[in-house]
């Protein structure tokens, strides 16, 4: 059974993501205060406000999945700034290329593929590997889990639940890591013991995916 994930569902998921980020602005700020410059919450919130505005604009709706992701990408790139802007921008931009132009729905496998492309985009831009205490530590295991579940023929709900679990574990794992990329790396060993802000915002991507996409059927 090949479940379809529609454009409308993806849109609802992204809106849930924006809401979650906006709701967690203070928490993300606190995380970035401990090992950074305390702006991740503000920046992501500003970007998500813009994304929400843009993808709910009835005068200029995104006609297909590729456009939706590309629009999110460009909006984030032009409004977030800092490290997170280009990196999340890369994620969505490369994800957009993982789907056929004009497609108004995708399969679970295609979603996994898109996320894989997105991850590659982040890694290409940011050059971070696993265990460097970045958003990669959330996205990488989540994408792996999603791919495996998709290839094993799991349902959308089950696959996204597994991805979410992996994302959560990855996010929490950043606590014990010493940062070797990004602002936290300037602290050296003092970065240990604090959860990474970017890994946390990235978790919300998979958390909201499981909560929205995973709850609905085509």
């Amino acid at each position: 059974m090949s479940q379809e994930i529609t454009l409308a569902q993806l849109r609802r998921w992204l809106l849930a993501f924006t809401d979650r980020i906006i709701q967690q602005e203070l928490y993300l700020t606190e995380l970035d205060a401990a090992i950074g410059d305390a702006d991740h919450g503000t920046n992501m919130r500003r970007g998500m406000d813009k994304v929400r505005q843009r993808i709910t604009d009835e005068n200029a709706p995104c006609p297909d999945v590729s456009t939706l992701f590309r629009t999110v990408a460009m909006t984030l790139i032009s409004s977030v700034g800092g490290a997170a802007g280009p990196l999340y921008g890369a994620f969505f931009l490369r994800a957009a290329r993982g789907t056929n132009n004009g497609a108004k729905s995708i399969t679970l496998l295609q979603l996994a593929q898109m996320f894989r492309h997105g991850l590659e985009g982040v890694q290409q831009r940011g050059k971070a590997q696993l265990d460097e205490k970045t958003m990669i530590d959330t996205i990488y295991p989540a994408v792996e889990a999603l791919e495996q579940a998709a290839q094993a023929g799991k349902s959308v709900a089950d696959a996204l639940a597994l991805a979410r679990e992996a994302a959560e574990a990855g996010m929490k794992h950043t606590i014990v890591l010493q940062a070797s990329k990004g602002r936290a790396s300037y602290l050296g060993p003092r970065s240990i013991g604090h959860q990474d802000p970017g890994a946390t915002s990235a978790y919300y991507l998979f958390e909201t995916a499981a909560e929205t996409l995973g709850q609905e059927q085509a």
């Binding site: 410059d37 790139i77 700034g81 490290a83 602002r183 300037y186």
Partner: protein
């Protein structure tokens, strides 16, 4: 929050509006996307020098726009690198037809946003290059070093080279040499409070100092007891001197920049001891800047920056400059 501000979300905008009203003879401000440009831009036939920075480091960068230094500066949100569309819009405004140099401070955001902007610029046919500023010795891995005081020095030197009518490659060369010959380190006696955060980023107890601190309010490499200024200078300057391999006979430009809330009196006390330390090593302090040149909102403390000069760099440093913050 003891600040003279209105809505924190408007702080950057209102500061820009104030800058524009304060320096009508030197700069203009473009809004959405935000950038500050020299009043006579574009200067045809001159390579454009552009830099971007999060806000909160004033006068870096918007205070360095004008003749002999930056053609444009892009201010991001507080402590947040500006976005590619800012960099591109600024480029289009000031491009003089013969290339542009972006001065990039080595932070993930600064590097990535400028990278994106340069890709977009190249696609549109602009000739662009960049020079990386990564002078912070507090970070061991050279490739990961933060860009700090060297930004001021490189922008001045690149700006002077551009004013001389040099071509892009020549300017890139001298700018990169200036960058490579500069090292910095910071020490903080307090944290700073970002308007949107409402409290200090970290808490520094009385009688302690953060050594190897950056300019974005993040904690430093280590926390130690606060000692006398003369000893602080030793602690901060030694790693710079060692990493730069400064030796007797060398000629330097020394900058002591307050981080925002340190009174001038203390900065000159620091400089007096820095000068003594260098002189005792047989290093000649040929030029100096002492004051608030690259700050971190209301952080107490200072940054020490040393650039090993050669005749060409000295000549470019001495070239006339007319910006809000530097004038000679």
């Amino acid at each position: 929050m003891q600040k003279l501000i209105n809505n924190p979300a408007d702080a950057v905008l209102e500061c820009l509006q104030g800058y524009e009203l304060a320096y009508p003879h030197l700069i203009r401000v473009h809004y959405d996307p935000h950038f500050v440009y020299r009043i006579d831009a574009p200067v045809q036939g001159k390579v454009s020098i552009i830099s971007g920075s999060g806000s909160g480091h004033e006068p870096l960068n918007i205070g360095y726009v004008g003749r002999g230094m930056l053609d444009a500066a892009c201010p991001g949100a507080i402590f947040t690198s500006p976005t590619p569309d800012q960099y591109l819009a600024a480029l289009k405004k000031v491009y003089g037809g013969v290339g542009a140099l972006y001065v990039v401070k080595n932070y993930t955001g600064g590097v990535l946003n400028t990278e994106l902007a340069m890709e977009m610029a190249a696609e549109e046919g602009f000739q662009v290059a960049s020079v990386l500023v990564n002078d912070d010795v507090a970070v061991e891995e050279k490739a990961n070093r933060r860009g700090m005081g060297a930004a001021v020095l490189v922008e001045k030197i690149a700006g002077a080279a551009a004013e001389q009518g040099r071509d892009l490659d020549s300017i890139v060369q001298v700018a990169r040499r200036a960058s490579a010959q500069t090292r910095s380190m910071g020490v903080a006696l307090s944290s700073c409070t970002s308007p949107s955060v409402g409290r200090p980023t970290f808490y520094l107890p009385e009688s302690q100092m953060e050594v190897g601190v950056g300019i974005h309010g993040e904690p430093g490499r280590r926390r130690e007891p606060l000692v006398h200024a003369a000893e602080v200078v030793n602690i901060v300057a030694q790693p710079i001197i060692e990493d730069l391999e400064l030796k007797a006979g060398d000629m330097v430009l020394a900058m002591v920049s307050g981080l925002g809330s340190t009174p001038q009196q203390e900065l000159f006390i620091v400089f007096r001891y820095l000068h003594q330390l260098l002189t005792q090593l047989g290093v000649r302090v040929e030029r100096q800047l002492v004051g608030n040149y690259i700050t971190s909102l209301d952080m107490a403390g200072c940054l020490i920056t040393l650039l090993r000069l050669d005749p060409e760099l000295l000549e470019l440093w001495d070239a006339p400059v007319r910006t809000p913050a530097l004038c000679w």
